[in-house]
């Protein structure tokens, strides 16, 4: 079961409110899709500079696995406060700990409401539907 303390988007990002800010990352499902279970298959990641203002759904970065470049999309709107640039050189962290050390952005959310995003149970069902 995935963590209950955050919400999930259909493009497989998660967002977790953390005080006045929110953390954003990608889910284990996304990591598995990109890397086929092989952590060394993730090769590059570009994250935005602090200060960039994101709208909900906007592409904030890109990640490359051995076989595809994919967009990273903002699940909610807000201003980037910090990017976890350490993971750009250690993408294996995304496989080992997508929910914690693998966070990508800390943003100052435009609103604290996470309406329209899925909770863990709904996301679980959503992922199951993609496998059929």
């Amino acid at each position: 079961m995935r963590p209950n303390d955050r919400k999930y988007s259909e493009s497989h990002e998660w967002v977790k409110i953390d005080g006045e800010t929110a953390l954003i990352g990608i889910t284990d499902f996304a990591v598995q899709e990109l890397s086929n279970g092989n952590e060394s298959d993730l090769v590059y990641c570009d994250l935005p500079e602090p200060g960039r203002v994101l709208t909900a759904g906007e592409t904030f970065g890109e990640i490359e696995s051995v076989k595809a470049v994919s967009d990273l999309n903002a699940p909610i709107a807000g201003e980037v406060v910090e990017s976890n640039v350490a993971i750009e050189e250690h993408l294996e962290v995304l496989s080992k700990d997508p929910w914690g050390a693998g966070w990508m952005l800390r943003i100052k959310p435009e609103r604290k409401s996470l309406e329209g995003l899925m909770d863990a149970a709904a996301y679980e069902k959503f992922c199951a539907s993609l496998k059929h």
Partner: protein
């Protein structure tokens, strides 16, 4: 059976080739599209994230672009290049990225067998075409790559954005000085051109992937976008962005 559009553009300019693929990628609502093409002049394409300085051949090539798909550099000469562009929800791209490669490579394998080649997925094999530090796609392989003669002969890469997929592929008909000792069709079919190989590939995509291909052209909007988007791919600021 799903109906796809087949666009064929032989000997097209590098900016047009890349611009049209991006225009098709952002063309939501357009039919899923398979494109066969070749390049004039011969052009080296860098993978989206590659550093220009990590690809020594990029300094030797007379024409260089940067792709929006990932992977290593390819010298587009003596090859049939193809792109598949569609919604990520198309059955061809259902499941994992690896599964989609496997399906497409199995279809290409059928076309290659028609030439007398016996291609296989690399799996755990060690290849004679591996080279260190060249940054070239054909010198670096993964388990899902299509290989024959103990060498890699088909290069592939994808871009996934906003629910759409762009899948680039290069099938080597002959080799070039920048790519060296890789698997090619030449040994089996001397003088094979992209134009003469295309019908067999078309037929294999139809029979193996369950597609019905209808010959078509980009619509007016796609052509206009291709023209707008193309120049970026040859702009030194983009080519040398990393």
């Amino acid at each position: 059976m799903s109906t796809w559009r087949l666009i064929t553009t032989w000997n097209a300019q590098p900016a047009f080739n890349m611009g049209l693929d991006e225009a098709l990628l952002e063309s939501h609502g357009s039919p899923p599209t398979l494109r066969f093409y070749s390049w004039k002049p011969a052009t080296l394409s860098l993978g989206y994230f590659q550093r220009f300085d990590d690809v020594p051949a990029a300094r030797e090539a007379r024409s260089v672009v940067r792709r929006i798909t990932g992977g290593g550099a390819i010298h587009h000469h003596r090859e049939l290049t193809f792109s598949l562009v569609c919604d990520a929800a198309e059955p061809l791209y259902a499941g994992s990225i690896g599964e989609s490669y496997e399906r497409v490579h199995q279809a290409i394998a059928v076309a290659l067998r028609g030439l007398g080649i016996e291609p296989v997925l690399r799996g755990e094999r060690r290849l004679a075409s591996e080279r260190q530090d060249t940054g070239m796609c054909f010198h670096h392989s993964s388990a899902l790559d299509l290989v024959w003669d103990e060498r890699k002969g088909v290069g592939s890469a994808q871009r996934r954005t906003h629910g759409r997929v762009l899948h680039h592929g290069s099938i080597k008909l002959g080799t070039t000085a920048l790519e060296g000792d890789i698997a090619t069709c030449e040994r089996y079919a001397r003088g094979l051109s992209p134009e003469s190989f295309a019908p067999a590939l078309r037929s294999a995509f139809e029979s193996q992937l369950g597609l019905r291909l209808e010959s078509g052209v980009p619509d007016a909007l796609e052509r206009a976008r291709a023209k707008e988007l193309g120049p970026r791919f040859v702009d030194p600021a983009f080519v040398r962005r990393r």
